[in-house]
Amino acid sequence: MNTLDFSIVAQSWPYLWSGLLFSLSLTAAAFAIGMILGTCLALVQHFDVPVLAKIVRSYVAIIRSIPLILVLFWFFFLMPIVLGHLSGNGRPVPIGASATAFTTFGLFEAAYYSEIIRVGLRAVNKGQFEACQALALSTYHTYRHIVLPQVLRVASPIILSQTIILFQDTSLVYVLSLTDLLGAASKLAQLNGRLVEMYLVVAVAYLIISSAASQCVASLRKRYAIATTR
């Protein structure tokens, strides 16, 4: 009978750790790119910018109807060809697996964050806009100091759950032969045959990180509770 033997985990810790770091940095980068770009996409739709708003709407619709793994494939295999055509000589320009992962995740998450922010923008009370008008605040200052901060505060729980999903989705980078936490664990598991231990440890790691993130936002929300209710 097999008994559980976790010593294998201790031995392979550095490898798992580097996998975890990759997952976390991909999540952080995709979050940053996704939020900044997503906010822009949401504002373009909110202001109904001619032509651009239509393009953005299609972009969001397309991204949201395609599995992330497919987008990763596309980027990895099609981007070099497209770039080759653009550069003129027709030869594919290879972009590294890491670069593909970071761009794809950033662009993909932007579509999801933009939807969250777009809905949040519509929920801001009309009176807030009128108060800004009455105070002669410009559109820029109105959105920068009044509207967007309120949207981000109200939408923070949804933004967080989307980010937790993002963190879990980073495991898809295995299709690009990149090694994240889950990837590291799978490789080790196959190497030493300790599948159960490895997958248990990884599950616990995901659980701890995701629930820590939820806790963190719960406490943030408590702190902001007074500032978001009226």
Partner: protein, 255 residues
């Protein structure tokens, strides 16, 4: 007659001039041929039944609503669709809303400091000083670091008054500032408004508070169905309204 910056003759002292104002919402005419002058230092009380166009009229004065006909001249600037004109008018016109409309994510002090810094371009120091001064004036200096939701309705409305005053406007517009308040808080807000009026602020107030009107109003303007029906000093208006509609309205608010 002196000329204002638009080159139009205005009687000296009039800071708001509304001439033949028309405002429509689709096919519905909310304001029909309104004429109104507000002199410097004057307090005008606007009253009338619900839906008569009181809010719409004062919202046209700072261009939160865009008028469809006639002219509005505020402090020598005629309101057109030019954003520069609209903003210079809005700088001189403070507004207080029925539902306060404070910024919930900013503290009381920050609520007061934002627009003076971003619009008037004053420093944070100066803005903080000014906010402190005006919050003391409305008697909530000790609440400066709280969030709006931590204050009572009356306190919130006084913050809203301070926030508007921090822009150092020449005119203040009030749209039913006390009608969302519990009765015991109405008094504290009215006291603040009375004080302001007595200091010489030019005010246009939509309110049904007759005590307030009696104490400080120079003129009561009665509106019905988008038109001004009656204008008189408060004593005359409340004692002997000329029109049947004003009589009916007064009977209703006295119950």
């Amino acid at each position: 007659m002196p000329l204002d910056t638009a080159g139009n003759a205005t009687p000296s002292g009039s800071i708001v001039v509304v001439e033949n104002l028309v405002k429509r919402f689709g096919a519905f005419t909310a304001l029909n041929d309104i004429n109104l002058r507000v002199d410097k230092g004057e307090t005008i009380v606007l009253c009338g039944p619900s839906g008569s166009g009181k809010s719409t009229l004062i919202r046209c004065i700072n261009h939160i609503e865009q008028h469809d006909g006639g002219r509005i001249v505020v402090d020598g600037i005629e309101l057109s669709n030019r954003m520069a004109d609209i903003n210079s008018v809005r700088c001189e016109v403070g507004m207080v809303f029925q539902s306060f409309n404070l910024f919930p994510h900013l503290t009381v002090a920050e609520n007061c400091m934002l627009a003076p810094m971003k619009v008037r371009g004053i420093s944070q120091f100066e803005a903080r000083d000014r906010a402190r001064l005006l919050l003391r004036k409305v008697r909530i200096a000790d609440q400066a670091d709280k969030y709006p939701a931590q204050l009572s309705g009356g306190q919130q409305q006084r913050v809203a008054i301070a926030r508007a005053l921090c822009m150092q406007p020449k005119i203040m517009l009030f749209d039913e500032p006390t009608s969302a308040l519990d009765p015991e808080m109405v008094k504290e807000v009215l006291e603040t408004m009375v004080e302001l009026a007595k200091e010489g602020m030019t005010m246009v107030c939509v309110t049904h508070e007759m005590g307030f009107a009696r104490e400080v109003a120079d003129q009561v303007v009665f509106m019905d169905r988008g038109s001004i029906i009656e204008e008189a000093d408060p004593e005359t208006f409340f004692r002997a309204p000329r029109t049947e509609r004003a009589k009916g309205f007064l009977n209703q608010i006295i119950h």
